[in-house]
């Protein structure tokens, strides 16, 4: 089997190689997965560059997110059987075979689309956790987000809808408006819309109770201006690479709270049983099509470097996937 192994940090061409490796047989409590698909996320690119907040010991098979079919089961495993689909919880999915503890996988329901399931681990729990972890929201409340056409943004829209929340979505390109409305967004505007003045009209006279920011800079401030007093403003990305600039009055007089979300912290702080409950819910939403991410392109593993280049481009229509069933 082939796996993408990182031997240093820097340009992918120089540090990331497809190495031939022997699949390991599963020990007690372990399963071996024949991997089907994996996704390429911004965090993967940052890990290759060495700029991510937490870096692996080298050499390392990388890839945060993927899905496989159980090919062999070790002694004592009761949660998975040969033929089941499962998504590994730990990094290392950019390879054709993985052997890991059964309890470090998410069991997936029969009938789920493997390509969609290969995107369950990062964006859907990010959206779910941000909608649950920062504000006590009630049906009818508004959530405002930028980068609404990103993987997380597209997960926020249907998950918020399933909770009875309404979403005000900010995008850069006007051609995305109809697409997000079709996905269930309540309102979609472009970055040029000043939410301090236009927000209340857009939200039927209300202010938002939660802001989700993946951009930073002026876009982050625009979201803050749409918030009700005392509301949280959560940063989970920094696409503009600009810091947040927060007028003191938003902190002192409006009592806004500026916080951050990092999925690795959520995994570290959330009990395993709660994680399982969340992923079972998200898997059900993927299987029934409620959660669905457009796929921009799928590359065989041998074209890894072309796939990484494609994933690094600014204007994609969806995720870039690796097909791991062919070498």
């Amino acid at each position: 089997m082939l796996a993408a192994r990182l031997h240093g940090f820097g340009k992918a061409d120089a540090v990331l190689r497809l190495d031939p490796l022997d699949p390991a047989p599963p020990g007690p409590g372990e399963v071996r997965l024949e991997m089907l698909a994996a996704s390429i996320n911004p965090a993967d690119l940052n890990i290759i560059e060495g700029t991510y907040g937490q870096l692996p010991a080298l050499p390392a098979i990388i890839g945060n997110e993927g899905v496989g079919r159980v090919a062999a089961v070790g002694a004592g495993v009761t949660t998975l059987r040969v033929g089941d689909l499962a998504a590994p919880l730990d990094p290392g999915s950019w390879g054709q075979s993985r052997t890991l503890a059964a309890e470090r996988t998410i069991p997936l329901p029969a009938g789920i689309d493997p390509a969609q399931a290969a995107m369950i681990l990062v964006n859907p729990p990010t959206a779910h956790a941000m909608l649950h972890g920062f504000a006590a929201l009630a049906p009818g409340d508004w959530v405002v987000q930028n980068a609404a056409n990103s993987g997380v943004g597209r997960a926020v829209i249907p998950i918020a809808r399933s909770l009875g929340l309404r979403t005000l979505n900010v995008v850069r390109r006007p051609e995305l408006v109809d697409e997000l409305l079709a996905l269930g967004a309540d309102r979609v505007v472009t970055e040029e819309t000043d939410l301090r003045t236009a927000g209340p009209d857009l939200m039927d006279g209300a202010h938002a109770r939660l802001a989700l920011n993946a951009v930073g800079g002026t876009s982050a401030l625009n979201l803050a201006n749409a918030l009700a007093p005392g509301s949280p403003h959560v940063t989970y990305g920094a696409m503009s690479r600009q810091p947040l600039k927060i007028p003191n009055g938003l902190l002192i007089f409006r009592g806004l709270r500026f916080e951050g979300f990092w999925l690795r912290r959520w995994f570290a702080d959330t009990p395993p049983a709660e994680q399982s409950r969340v992923f079972a819910l998200l898997a059900a939403m993927i299987r029934d099509g409620t959660l669905r991410v457009p796929i921009h392109a799928t590359f065989p593993l041998r074209d890894l470097h072309a796939a990484l280049q494609e994933a690094a481009t600014e204007r994609r229509g969806g995720k870039v996937l690796l097909d791991l069933t062919v070498a």
Copy 2:
């Protein structure tokens, strides 16, 4: 009696006048206070200018903070007797007489210094509330603050000490270092000290669990860089008039929370019994000298405008007070 009444918002000379008024006799549940002293706070100046977050209906006797002696008691008042000292909870203290509900005053213990008691309402509860309301602190934990020689900063130091907390204090002028150490500060440094590099050494290898910011701009960021992951950074003032500039990594990877504190919100959100408990504790600390603010100058009420000019200067050695016992 004379009282300082605001007739508009703008330059104090034009909008604030000393008006002769008749003292009102106390109705049921009310007391009449002969006012002894009042303080001038930055919020008072901002109200006169019309730039504060909440403005009174005009004309209004202003003055957030003062102390008086009970001169008459209405029917049914059991908490105060003639001769007792009390501090009004509501604005309107820049006058020689006040009549208000007994339950809208803080009863003060006999033997308390009236000049010090005239500064109980704003800075001490701000310091107390910020030390209790944002982080679960344990004895030995470090608190980092800028503007450490301000009224709030000087209250933070002894209150933190009484809780077993340690303080790292940032000041602008090196000549303040010894003064704050004498007040019980554990460490005092000037604004030029880079806390990202120097912080752990200053705090015996630890990071701070709470930052209190009254400056904004680069000073606010400097405090943030001294914080342990997941800690709150609380803004209650903006002396530099510069917004906060927050690198995204402090939010996402370090999980810092940037919040704000406004005393009016604390009064609105805190049950009266809890407010009484806090003020009884603070009054005891003022009476025994644990809480003590230097007084820069005291002006008779007729010199109100000179007092306001003095209070607006940058480099004072302490608070400016109004003596209300003389006209």
